[in-house]
């Protein structure tokens, strides 16, 4: 469908693709109406919505400038909180708990946000101020009040998006943020069992870490994972020190949702709402069809000498620093 759509007709539509054409940057939109984002990941919801005949037939495509028009018509949505993580640390549990309430919208690792974050790497000539406006517009469109019940918008990023922390801080300077982490050996075991895309050398996600070709070829999987996690960890630590990024250890969950995260984000829930949110913790956050079961011991048992060595060399010192800063943050609150 054409590019000159009346933006006011896009209420209930979410931007779901951001792509480049010779004519410029464009957005695809998908109709969700009042359908809530309850899947562990944003793109899961969209993939399902795409099977509805309405969304197969009507596929509005607009220029990127539509985001600014969208904000003009429907207002700017400021997130209540931003969620970063070291991967496999319980951040999906955090978003799933928020998503359990109708008055919360939790946008989890949306590829369309990832695309805006990376757009200046793909295409020259885009100014940072422009990118920041697109980010704000994207969050407003994704977090739009589609059922007149939404009050709080939470945005969870991909793990490696921590490299964009300074940019996101400029885009959302007054929005509180958290970084969730856990014992790196447990992350390592999880990644060795099933690697995220950014942990695979040579994939587009991994290229942001600027490893040389030689490093990508020669590093063992354990060393590669450790060095990627170390890069993310160093940036998160800097964020904690410079941008008031609140550090949260996996073992504090889910209790810390009430004691630390909600107060940090400035959101309040009543007893009934907390009960609803805690009920979400019964299930596996990434596969709600399954019940949750703690995996710490299993992950530690899976540790090999190579994993232990890589963690000792690259990650254990960072974990100690995380813990020191976290305890300092708790002490000052």
């Amino acid at each position: 469908m054409g590019m000159n759509l009346d933006t006011r007709r896009l209420r209930g539509w979410l931007p779901v693709r951001f792509h480049m054409r010779s004519t410029g940057l464009e957005l695809d939109w998908c109709y969700l109406g009042e359908q809530r984002l309850t899947d562990p990941f944003f793109d899961d919801t969209i993939a399902r919505q795409l099977h509805y005949p309405f969304n197969l037939f009507f596929q509005p495509r607009t220029t990127i400038q539509t985001l600014a028009e969208f904000e003009t018509h429907f207002g700017r949505r400021q997130p209540a909180g931003l969620i970063y993580h070291w991967s496999r640390c319980g951040s999906t549990l955090v978003t799933q708990m928020f998503a359990a309430l109708e008055r919360n919208t939790a946008v989890s690792e949306a590829s369309v946000i990832d695309a805006v974050l990376r757009c200046r790497r793909w295409q020259g000539g885009i100014q940072e101020e422009q990118q920041i406006e697109w980010l704000r517009g994207m969050v407003s469109a994704l977090g739009q009040n589609r059922d007149n019940a939404d009050e709080n918008v939470f945005i969870k990023f991909d793990s490696w998006h921590v490299i964009f922390l300074p940019l996101l801080q400029r885009a959302f300077p007054r929005v509180p943020a958290i970084f969730v982490y856990r014992d790196p050996l447990e992350i390592m075991a999880s990644q060795m069992n099933s690697r995220a895309a950014f942990m695979l050398p040579g994939t587009p996600d991994a290229l942001v870490f600027d490893f040389s070709t030689t490093e990508m070829v020669e590093l063992s999987p354990e060393q590669y994972i450790a060095r990627v996690l170390a890069a993310i960890g160093r940036l998160a630590l800097a964020g904690a020190r410079e941008h008031k990024l609140m550090l949260l250890n996996y073992h504090e969950l889910p209790a810390a949702m009430e004691t630390r995260i909600a107060p940090h984000f400035g959101v309040k829930f009543d007893r009934e709402e907390w009960a609803t949110m805690h009920a979400a913790t019964v299930f596996n956050a990434k596969n709600p069809a399954l019940k949750f079961s703690g995996d710490t011991e299993a992950k530690r048992r899976a540790a090999t000498p190579e994993m232990l060595n890589a963690c000792a060399e690259w990650l254990d010192p960072l974990y100690s620093e995380f813990e020191a800063v976290r305890l300092e943050q708790i002490g000052t609150n």
Binding site: M1, G2, R9, Y52, P53, F54, F57, F58, V112
Partner: protein
């Protein structure tokens, strides 16, 4: 020709919120196609299920190819 009719009707119905709402409620494909044909005929646009299926298929493929 019927393909052109369908595309013209799609642009027209995009401006008709009442018709869009009816189409949104048609969650099954056959019901959606039947309703679209009915609405098109009422507005003077002739097309058939194969035209609708073709557009949906093209859109689906385009969508898959446009992953950022």
């Amino acid at each position: 020709m019927s393909r052109e009719n369908l595309e013209a009707f799609r642009d027209l119905v995009w401006e008709d919120e009442a018709a869009l709402n009816r189409l949104r409620l048609a969650t099954e494909r056959s019901g959606f196609e039947a309703l679209l044909i009915e609405l098109g005929q009422a507005a003077g646009y002739e097309f058939d299920r194969s035209d609708i299926s073709l557009i949906m298929r093209e859109n689906h493929l385009a969508w898959l190819q446009r992953w950022a």
